[in-house]
Amino acid sequence: MDLSDAAVVRRVLSGDVEAYSILVERYFDHYVRFAIHLVGNREDAEEVVQDTFLRAYKALGRYEERERFGAWLLRILVNRARTVSAIGRRREKMFPDQADDTVPEAAEAHPAERAALREEVSRALSQIGPDQREAFLLHYVEGLSYEEMAAVTGSGISALKMRVKRSCERLREILQGVNRV
């Protein structure tokens, strides 16, 4: 049986709704990871990914097989994550005392080395701009080429290259600063 993503989409569109769980199973965990790094906390990330899958399902009739399903899904996810991040930033401006505290202040306070590393990573990512963070994650964590990133984000390749370059420079500064403490 052909169980490629495109074939599964055809099954869903022909009425086999349960086949959609094959796609959920294939991509959900991976994209939750991506969303966590993008929006900064797990709760929002899981909501974003759930919403992405639901929106993708509703729009499945417009999916074109010539595009890789994972990339199509990623495009929806990036748009949803941008919206959620923007709402979060507005909320922090309006209610600074209630700002999301998912990024801890000091890595040194945690005894476990791994936990400290994760905190350091979260903190570093939170200190670069959303556009740079998005470009960095797509390129270095998701492994997309600049052409693929352009299709997913709607931005130009030159702009994306600049964002990745600057994000690398900024992250290195931040991380080296942490290591010097």
Partner: protein, 214 residues
Amino acid sequence: MFDRMPAPDPLATLIDELREPVVVDPASKRRVMELVRETPLPTVSVASGRVLPGRSRAFAAIRSLRGERNGFSRSATASSLATAAGIALLMAVGTQDSATPRMAPGRRAVVIGDSVASMASAIRDTLRIVQFILTAPAASRVALAGDFNGWDTRAIPLTRDSRDGRWAVTLALAPGRHNYAYVVDDTQWVRDPLGTPSEPNELTPPRSVLIINR
């Protein structure tokens, strides 16, 4: 060609950490399906015949690059690299003589080299060259499908070695976790006999998981 990134680069450590898989509560996925079941079945939109130049070009770029990354073009590069490095592979040879499409382990998917894929700000993103081998002497066709190619059952065919019934393909893959399976004669999904089985799921075919470290 095979030089490694200078250790210890804090950015490389950060990327490794970001690539670590996360554990998601299965209830979260079940919730998606609950919502899907409550949603009317999507309908197929009729193609209008209009051409959307920008979008089409972008999609074409994705297709061609994905194909190059995961298919034969990249495989050819990978093979060259492996040859240039003088890497000798010792492979277990299957001895099946049955006409039935039995599968035997030739060798699990193995990382056999590196390829520097891109560079930005002195960070080198290294692809690992991986050889996938399945011994299936009675098979007419074998392909590799995985999350790296959208589980396409035709995009990455394996090449048969007529001497011993081994089928092989070499790919360049990014570090991280990759689920994959072999598709024999277009219909039969086969887990890598020597690979690490993926978490079983009644909805998906048998899969193996390959974790590639940087």
